[in-house]
């Protein structure tokens, strides 16, 4: 019975997680993944990685009868402020993603030591330098808003102008993970952080949000995944398939159910 209810993850209306239509035109797209602090989006990043490199998300998509869709063969760059290269290597080796298919830019290890005392624009341009420029690539950027905390005086607009936009220009698809936070904030830092999130939403073509159940903890549900259109105009041949799933993440496996 549970098998019947299980759903595949579908983000685009051509039944794909990452549609190949994204790569067909000279465009730059942004997908944002927003998550509450207690619902880590790492499984979703893994799913996207699987979809890109293996053509199918093994961790939870069950329908493997159809031959894997066209695999994405371009380079993938993971840029993270919270995980180091080893973390990705461990996690991805478990799901058999070939290490040659991605590159990690580790902005966790010694980031503070290396960049202390440097002016903000220099730090940002150094980060940019470390990210390869390839028009056909996919870049996954984990929690860039941490920079708002790490660099004194950095504003959300600066971060978008000097990092997010230039990074977007370096790839076909940029996936940004941010924190799901209230847009109504009282502190200055809070306003900057929520402004960053809102700006990311405006630029996104799809927004994937992960949040715990409002009704409290359940034993067989981790949370709610909602896929909605973002603010960006969609000039592509595929549309975002708006959907809401319940998901259950346990022992490195994820199951999706329609809500």
């Amino acid at each position: 019975m549970t098998n019947v209810q299980r759903q595949d993850l579908v983000v685009f209306d051509d039944n794909s997680v990452i549609s190949s239509a994204l790569f067909s035109k000279e465009t730059h797209s942004l997908i944002s993944i927003a998550s509450a602090p207690v619902t880590s989006p790492f499984w979703l990043i893994s799913a996207i990685m699987e979809d890109l490199t293996l053509g199918v998300s093994n961790s939870f998509n069950e329908t493997t009868e159809s031959p894997p869709a066209k695999k994405y063969l371009g380079p993938i760059t993971l840029v993270s402020f919270i995980h180091n290269a080893k973390y990705f290597a461990n996690a991805f080796s478990k799901i058999k993603i070939p290490p040659s298919s991605y590159k990690v830019v580790d902005l966790l290890t010694d980031f503070v030591l290396k960049n202390s005392g440097m002016p903000n624009h220099k730090v940002l341009s150094n980060i940019l330098k470390s990210i390869p420029d390839n028009q056909s690539s996919v870049i996954i950027l984990e929690q860039p808003e941490i920079l708002l905390s790490l660099l004194d005086g950095l504003t959300s607009d600066d971060l978008h102008r000097k990092l997010i936009n230039p990074v977007m220009r370096r790839c076909k698809l940029l996936v940004v993970t941010t924190k799901l936070r209230s847009l109504i904030q009282e502190t200055k830092d809070g306003i900057e952080a929520s402004r960053f999130t809102a700006c990311t939403y405006y630029k996104s073509m799809a927004i994937l949000s992960l949040r715990p159940l409002e009704t409290g903890r359940a034993k067989d549900v981790t949370g709610c995944l909602r896929i909605t259109r973002g603010g960006s105009a969609n000039t592509l041949d595929c549309q975002v398939q708006e959907n809401e799933y319940l998901y259950f993440n346990q022992k490195e496996n994820t199951r999706l159910f329609y809500r």
């Binding site: 790490l150 924190k179 009282e186 994820t254």
Partner: protein
């Protein structure tokens, strides 16, 4: 500093060959509990323990022979100074303070509180992970956990036996208060009756030591290990034949976790070779490079990083409370813990009342595990005291909320549990148990004391409703 001397002291005074009654891992089968009680009452019921041990062993062997462990063993073992990169450095597999997590088989070290170890889901804090314990109000329960965490590290480094190296752990405290060392609790020696029994046993074992030198080490080592042991009954392991490999396995975790008496002090207090201090009164880079030096200097040791009362206004200047003050520090420390993930753990405590929610959220996001202590208000405590009139030791001191658990939460699992656990801090144990509103006791005491009128009964029920409400809300209302 010689271990022999310390060993003698411990032998003479602190050794206790038995488990403390009632301190039973919940995972253990019920009859195991009986066994341990029996053996603690009667010194010679070795057979009971023995047979249990054999039953338990296959499981443990399974854990140990997991591929990760064997790989790790291949990596280091005898030549700890691998010429390769620092990340390959791993701890000695026989480190008494580590064991594989039953849930993820990741190497894990004890926090010094058995119940906290259990609540974390890994029987401890997995290496390369960090945990923050927040506390509401002005109570100091988190400080107790912090000291237990520190004391456990010292106990590990003082362990002396054949299979594992002593001097295996180093504490690194980010604090200006060097008196922290002197505040660490000593190991619980059992009740006064137990202590007497221990001395007698000690005398007997001394005879054994003199006569059978072969058995000396294990026996003594056995005496050292005081409190709770993994699978109960392994206290009798000294009686097992030495060639039995399973007995070696059995002794593997016996110094993993100790029980402490928070009213006592650790004797002798930790020495500078066991504990280092890094003052937070310096630029972030200074703290970070000093930390890294300490970690590098003590290579092949387990580094337990401790940040007692993070953002305490007495220690941290107002500028630290800015995002760009505290977050770079925590990001840097996170980077270090992950860089040396094979031999580094971090525990921080902080008061959550002093900072706003936004900063708190940013601070939490730098940690792998987040635990929140919410002590009960005076009114709630009075209610509980009334409810548990007949069993005053059942009165809990507050709720324990979990926001994130190491490894699991990062993977995406949901482990937020609000008001699921309650804690109570006793002299010899920081207990964490599932939180239940006392129901039966109220009725009982009501019936006993006043010939329960229906009216009074209703009143008690009303109180119950209110406490149910307060349970769901984060703050216990004062007008309770």
């Amino acid at each position: 500093m010689s271990f022999r001397r310390r060993g003698e002291v411990l032998n003479g005074r602190e050794g206790s060959p038995r488990t403390i009654p009632g301190r039973v891992p919940t995972g253990a089968p019920r009859n195991a509990r009986n066994g341990s009680l029996q053996s603690s009452k009667n010194e010679i019921t070795h057979d009971v323990g023995h047979s249990q041990e054999n039953r338990v062993n296959p499981m443990r062997r399974g854990l140990l022979s997991s591929p990760i462990n064997s790989m790790a063993a291949l990596n280091i073992g005898n030549n700890p100074r691998t010429p390769n990169i620092r990340n390959i450095e791993t701890l000695d597999m026989n480190h008494p303070g580590i064991r594989p997590s039953p849930a993820s088989s990741q190497q894990t070290t004890s926090t010094g509180s058995f119940d906290l170890d259990r609540v974390l889901g890994h029987m401890g804090l997995p290496l390369g992970n960090s945990m923050i314990i927040k506390e509401q109000g002005t109570t100091e329960f988190s400080a107790v956990l912090c000291k237990l965490f520190a004391a456990q590290g010292i106990m590990h480094t003082r362990v002396e036996n054949l299979s594992s190296r002593s001097d295996n752990t180093h504490l690194c405290v980010i604090s200006a208060n060097q008196g922290f060392s002197k505040e660490l609790p000593g190991v619980y020696k059992g009740s006064s009756k137990d202590i007497k029994k221990t001395r007698i046993a000690e005398e007997q074992s001394k005879v054994t030591v003199q006569n059978l030198s072969e058995q000396a080490a294990p026996t003594r080592y056995n005496d050292l290990k005081i409190a709770w042991r993994y699978k109960l009954g392994d206290e009798n392991s000294s009686q097992q034949p030495k060639d039995n490999e399973s007995s070696m396995m059995e002794t593997e975790y016996k110094d993993y976790n100790h029980q402490f008496n928070i009213t006592s002090r650790m004797v002798p207090a930790p020495t500078p070779s066991e504990i280092s201090y890094v003052t937070p009164h310096q630029p972030t880079q200074g703290i970070l490079s000093q930390l890294e030096q300490i970690i590098k200097k003590h290579d092949n040791k387990l580094i337990r990083l401790i940040i007692p009362s993070l953002l305490h206004p007495a220690t941290y200047p107002p500028t630290s409370f800015r995002l760009s003050g505290i977050i770079p520090l925590l990001h840097g420390i996170r980077s270090l813990v992950k860089k040396y993930e094979n031999r580094c753990v971090l525990l921080a405590t902080m008061s959550s009342d002093l900072v706003d929610d936004f900063l708190l959220c940013e601070v939490e996001s730098m940690f792998d595990a987040v635990i929140d202590l919410e002590p009960f208000s005076q009114e709630m405590l009075q209610f509980l005291e009334k409810a548990y009139k007949s069993q005053p030791n059942k009165v809990q001191h507050g709720l324990l909320h979990i926001s994130k658990l190491p490894i699991f939460s990062e993977r995406g699992e949901m482990h937020e549990m609000r008001s699921h656990y309650a804690f109570k801090n006793g002299r010899k144990k920081f207990a964490i148990e599932e939180w239940d509103i006392p129901v039966a006791d109220v009725d009982d005491s009501d019936k006993e004391n006043s010939s329960a009128l229906p009216h009074g009964h209703e009143h008690a029920n009303k109180g119950m409703c209110e406490s149910t409400e307060s349970r769901s809300s984060t703050n216990i209302s004062i007008d309770f």
